[in-house]
Symmetry: C2
Subunit: 249 residues, 2 copies
């Protein structure tokens, strides 16, 4: 499993991903799931991947090959981020179809991969998409300013409570980390290193605010301790239940 999320803010886009992959409990590995493609002053795109690792690696490799071979359509030729989302969706479906149907190696095998694609192409506002295994995609909205892929449930409530379009990017990044940490605690197939990146709207620069935290990074330990302490305090300050109690028989 995997957990990745991206948030669309007035200030720009926040991306966060874990690095654990597994194919059964004894095939656990570490792979970065955050991929960046950038042309200074023209376009800046970030891709997060979840699901079948072979499929997502094949898609990322094909993106690179299409750039090198200057094919009819590639990341440099896209006019809109949504065109790139279509392109990735098609490649993903094509890759999956090689391993399904009559050629499927076994029942229950799932070649599906899910992607989050975000970024900006000159002349347009930043865009954010989630691309389903079926190749279609949805975008975020002001009412629902974030997208998640992989093991999404554990980390969702904190996003619902904190994230608004006007949330400052540093708060959004901390919220992404807490959402990630909650998921790591609850699901052994999600794990560090954690990568987190902020793309500032209209910067169109390859430079980005970025950090990567491995399992023993002191910041991660301090964040966990601080969050646990603060959450306990938050509980102590909730309204007392004494007014609602009734004694029932």
């Amino acid at each position: 499993m995997t957990y990745c999320l991206a948030i669309t803010l007035n200030e720009g886009l926040v991306f966060c991903s874990d690095s654990r992959t597994n194919a059964g409990a004894d095939r656990v590995s570490t792979y970065s799931k955050m991929h960046r493609f950038s042309v200074p002053f023209d376009r800046s795109l970030i891709l997060l991947t979840a699901g079948n690792l072979a499929t997502s690696q094949a898609v990322v490799a094909q993106i690179q090959r299409d750039l090198e071979e200057e094919t009819e359509f590639n990341l440099l030729k896209a006019k809109y981020v949504s065109e790139v989302a279509d392109y990735i969706g098609k490649m993903s479906v094509r890759e999956q179809s090689k391993h399904t149907g009559d050629n499927a190696p076994m029942a229950g095998f799932d070649a599906g991969a899910t992607f989050i694609l975000g970024g900006q192409i000159k002349g347009h506002a930043p865009e954010l998409y989630m691309i389903y295994p079926e190749g279609n995609h949805i975008t975020a909205s002001e009412q629902h300013p974030y997208l998640q892929i992989g093991e999404t449930k554990y980390g969702k409530p904190i996003l619902d409570r904190i994230i608004r379009p006007d949330t400052p990017y540093e708060t959004a990044m901390r919220c992404a980390l807490v959402s990630m940490d909650s998921t790591i605690r609850s699901n052994a197939t999600v794990g560090p290193p954690l990568e987190c990146l902020f793309y500032r709207a209209d910067s169109l620069q390859p430079q980005a605010q970025y950090f990567k935290l491995d399992e023993h990074h002191p910041y991660l330990a301090r964040l966990r301790q601080s969050w646990d302490d603060n959450i306990r305090q938050a509980f102590d300050n909730l309204p007392s239940l004494s007014e609602v109690f009734e004694t029932v028989k």
Copy 2:
């Protein structure tokens, strides 16, 4: 769907349940999922139900019938709470088997029900069990002092962060409410009224600390507002990210 949970504390047992049931988006109803059986100074048992409503209602009805008909085994004759868990597991499997196999009305139909059973029988410590649709059961432990059934993922992280065996019962009840509220926000098939009950260890009394909050109860509104405010404050007090940022190209 449904969400119920129970917590085992040094002080006793906390139970919390929602009341929404649904069979498709246009068959949403309200049913209590908390059932109490009690003999003063001898035994006090609480049952929470999730899954197929017909199965869980049939099990609860059978428990009542066995009491009225004074059958060979019933709640009054159990020596241990685990015996009651076995009894409920067997009834549940029997009830489900009526609707599966060759008699199954349609593919994809699921008669499965899951239960949480907790309480105390005189001479023994309080016990807490989760009973699977297959009829077997597990108990809570000091390392994992709570059990959940139904839509469990959204509300799990807050329990992991707060609940310890020495948590005061009022804090545990507020934590159960916050866990429930997080789930309600994220999943439309979980909803109020919320019921919450505290059984004090060794009381063996039918009296219990109990409350029921419907959707418009002012306490629920105040709890939500207070929690949202406190959580934001908790975020503002997290260690700054400035030390971990690196600018990448």
